[in-house]
Amino acid sequence: MIFKLGSFLSLLLIFWSSPMLLADEAAIRNTIEQFHIVLTDVMKSDAEFQDRYISLETAIDTTFDMETVSRMSLGTPWRKLETDARQEFSQLMRELITATYADRFNSYNEQQFEITAVTEPRPGRWLVRTRLIRKSGKPVALDYYFKDQRVFNVVADGVSDLAVRRADYTAVVKADGFQGLLDSVRANIAGLRNER
């Protein structure tokens, strides 16, 4: 009797969880599809840097988990930060990432995005593998790492944005302290804005 009840509950769980899994997968896939649509529109718009920046802000906010990006970019020093300093750093990361996308996706040359796989390597941790297909040259592999419903890392042709940034920031914090890091990130953002 207990065995039958157990089997029944297992079956119920499978039937109940499968649509949930599919719903999650669809939501994850949709997040990236929408992000790619915005990137493509921005490239096609032929707009100035500041207009591209404004167009991207909402998409960056809905796609990226900026708190996770910030704390993992900073590493151990994050734990020692007060709430205000954490918010300040997260805001800078948001500006930097938006400015970087606005800078890089500045012209359209028949680029196309393609999702090649959506997997859930761990519960609640998703990986979306995509390709940026260009008119000439090899396609660029873009992998999006998700925590729950939002992205915390992008890996382009094997180069992890988060891992490179953490190594870079760790070296700067070690040499110039947290304030030195903030100043350097601000200078980078200003550089991206001013040179356009």
Binding site: K80, E82, T119, A141, G158
Partner: protein
Amino acid sequence: MNADHSHNLLASFLVAICLSSCSTLQGPDLGVYDRTESSNRTSFNVMEGFDRFIGKPAARTYQTLLPDWAEKSIGHFFLNLRTVDSALNSYLQGNVKAGTKNVSRFLINSTLGVGGLFDVASHMNIDYHQEDFGQTLAHWGYTRSRYVYFPVIGPTTVRDLPGDLFHLIISPRLLLGNGYDVWVGSLDTLSRRSDALLITDARDDAALDKYIFTREAFNQKRRFDILNGDVPVDDSMFDDLDDWDEPEAEVPRRDRIE
């Protein structure tokens, strides 16, 4: 140079590589293996200075002066010369399919593509598979090697350096002979620097410590190339995430950063 002498040189070269590989396999299992950071940084800074005042301006001038089609043709020509090296290393890795594709590319582009000036093979869906001797060594087990920043070559490892020198400097000379003189070599260098402008500009916009940024990005990209793009899911990224989701240890107030 007679044949015996050539064989002796080749044997010495291979022995040197084996010795260096044995000595560098002793490195740590995790993290970037950069035991000579100080001298690497010096080399990096010197080359960056040279690049800032000579390399980059020359590459930008080259891009401005040459029409796109001419730039592409010059790039195709030198890539075609290096396809032979890629074909050889594909075979050395046991990848017959990639090796044959590279040989086909070389033959098609050298003939129908007018000495490699036009990339006819890509239009026939015969893609280029870039392989070098460092990738071959990595394929056969020499996976861990010391990072070095070598003048002219740039970021590399002890394992990759001989292959880089061969791929960049010797392989075009083997096919062109004396035709690969200082002028043709300079054009080749200029073409490659011009191709890399997009990447180095992106790095300059993003990096705070350019040396660290270059080293990290190189190591990861190199791994990607060695695995032919088939990189497994980065579990360490998820491990880090899980660690962060654990309750935070109490930080004494005196240690907090405000």
